[in-house]
């Protein structure tokens, strides 16, 4: 798998590159500004771009804008956006360009190296990955009231994992239950929330995210 990294702080850029290489992922290019990123994407055609939200010249949201731009030019281009603080608004904007092959993570998550590399592979494969903090704020912020109240505590846990983009198997492992139990929970959740059931993991994630984001 080939990756392009866009991060203006040299220390972090090198750190990311080192982690990816240690897991046999090729770093095709490592750049520090949006213009160089656009060029690198053109030339290298990577499987995924890992982009920092904040880059020169204004250090506000250049990375986010560049990621969305890249996905508009090449629909479905997998992009994983990293940030030193989580802003649910950015997650939303990112997913407006389609939720397949999109990830939004806090840089702190990179410290859990195994999970980070797993997230990179998932996004590159067309999956969706959302930082748990973002999901928590989505779940708690909207006063879902009755709908959420109908879910049991366990079901809410499972819902959070689905929104983060995890597969059935991963959820089963995390909760230490059988995959069949997870299936049952998911059926129950989707029925209580009036969501269409789908065997495809990714479409499921999209359904949940749409539900959580709906105004």
């Amino acid at each position: 798998m080939r990756v392009v990294i866009a991060e203006d702080l040299t220390l972090l850029r090198d750190g990311l590159a080192r982690i990816l290489r240690a897991h046999d992922i090729e770093v095709a290019a490592a750049v520090g500004d949006p213009v160089a990123l656009a060029t690198a994407l053109e030339e290298e055609h990577p499987d995924i771009a890992i982009v920092d939200v904040r880059m020169p010249p204004t250090f506000t949201n250049e990375g986010l804008v560049a990621a969305i731009g890249a996905r508009n030019r090449r629909p479905g281009m997998p992009v994983l956006v990293l940030s030193q603080y989580v802003e649910p608004l950015y997650a939303r904007e990112l997913m407006l360009s389609g939720a397949a092959g999109v990830g939004y993570l806090l840089k702190d998550r990179v410290a859990d190296v195994g999970a980070f590399v797993d997230a990179v592979r998932r996004v590159a494969g067309g999956g969706t990955v959302l930082d748990p903090d973002v999901v928590t704020s989505m779940l708690s912020h909207r006063d879902r009231g009755q709908a959420m109240a109908r879910l049991t505590a366990r079901e809410r846990e499972v819902l959070a994992f689905i929104a983060e983009g995890r597969s059935n198997a991963a959820i089963a492992a995390k909760l230490v239950v059988t995959p069949k139990a997870v299936d049952k929970h998911i059926n129950s959740i989707f029925m209580k929330l009036d969501l269409p059931l789908d065997a495809d993991d990714n479409r499921r994630v999209l359904a949940v995210l749409r539900y959580l984001q709906a105004d």
């Binding site: 702080l9 250090f59 990179v110």
Partner: protein, 349 residues
């Protein structure tokens, strides 16, 4: 302003005096009337009544005048007294037999002119004061928005320094340690490198935090006061700086902070841009004004225009009605003089 209690007592006293006088005048007037009826002479009591009436009228006029709003009282009282005097002259003319020459016109004219003059002067004075007040409001509006700008820029700078500095270093350390955890058994050599790098990163992060904290509130300023803090600042610079002068007391902390950062900015400019061999800082306090002069023997060419740090210094000082004056001809030398009016409290113990 006298306290309201005293004003109320004055009022009560005046009222009582007026009442008493009215009572006495009425009593005397009645008495005189009785004597006149009994003695059957010419209508002489009118002079007595006139004599009693004038002070009453004067008092009533003055009291009416005093009720005007503050600032207009003197003028209104003057007007009231003028009217009473004019009518007094008229009354005398009538009582004296209404002779052909209407002489009251002269006193009336004189009183009128005096009153008009008084009014004209007052108007001139109050217009001047109003203009001064409007100017002051302009200055306050401008310096307030300047202060808000300076503060907003400072906060942005601090946020960016923390984000790019200490926070990013800690993220990097987390990454390194995460990788080290994974590779503990597989590649001890790399793990050793990662751990060493993490330690050095943390120390740098601490340094960066300290720098940010110094930029917010230098500890030495609270400890040693302005003069001491400037001396401490001068010790660290690449260019030799001599600090002279003393401040006999403690300026208000926000003023101290603003002046300290102003001097710091000037010295930073000296080191970065001037190419000077030496610099001098003189400070002192005279006639209610704290002053500081920073001079160097460098190339000159400094200015207080937008985009330079000195602009921010000017804005900060303006908030305290302070000023900055810069002489910096091309070729040098450069002299920056800053003044801030303030009160000093007793020196630190």
């Amino acid at each position: 302003m006298t306290d309201p209690g005293r004003g109320a007592r004055w009022d009560a006293t005046w009222r009582m005096v007026l009442r008493q006088e009215a009572n006495v005048s009425a009593a005397v007037g009645l008495l005189v009337l009785i004597i006149w009826v009994l003695s059957g002479g010419g209508f002489w009591p009118r002079w007595v009544w006139f004599g009693l009436a004038v002070p009453l009228a004067l008092q009533a006029g003055v009291r009416r005048g005093l009720r005007a709003p503050w600032g207009q009282r003197l003028l209104t009282v003057h007007g009231a007294v003028s009217v009473v005097l004019a009518f007094t002259a008229l009354a005398i003319w009538v009582l004296a037999g209404a002779s052909r020459a209407f002489w009251p016109v002269w006193p009336a004219l004189g009183l009128g002119i005096a009153f008009a003059l008084h009014g004209w002067i007052r108007h001139g004075l109050s217009a001047g004061r109003e203009r001064a007040l409007l100017d002051r409001v302009d200055v306050l509006t401008r310096t307030r928005s300047g202060a808000v700008d300076v503060q907003a820029a400072e906060l942005r700078r601090i946020e960016r320094d923390l984000h790019d500095g200490a926070q990013s270093r800690m993220v990097s350390v987390a990454m390194n340690l995460g990788l080290a955890e994974e590779l503990l058994d597989k590649d001890p050599q790399l793990v050793a490198e990662l751990v060493a790098e993490s330690r050095s990163s943390m120390l740098t992060a601490l340094d960066e935090l300290r720098t940010v904290m110094r930029g917010i509130q230098p500890p030495v300023l609270a400890d040693r006061g302005l003069a001491g803090a400037v001396r401490a600042l001068a010790l660290h610079l690449a260019v030799p700086v001599t600090v002279a002068g003393e401040i006999p007391g403690q300026a208000p902390p926000p003023v101290e902070s603003a002046v300290y950062f102003a001097v710091s900015e000037c010295l930073a400019n000296v080191v970065k841009h001037s190419g000077a061999q030496r610099a001098d800082v003189d400070l002192g306090y005279r006639d209610g004004v704290l002053w500081v002069v920073v001079s160097d023997d460098g190339d000159g060419g400094a200015s207080v225009t937008a985009g330079t740090g000195l602009r921010g210094v000017a804005l900060r000082l303006e908030v305290f009605d302070g000023t900055i004056a810069l002489t910096s001809p091309a070729g040098g030398p450069t002299v920056v003089r800053m003044e801030v009016p303030c009160e000093l409290s007793s020196p630190r113990t």
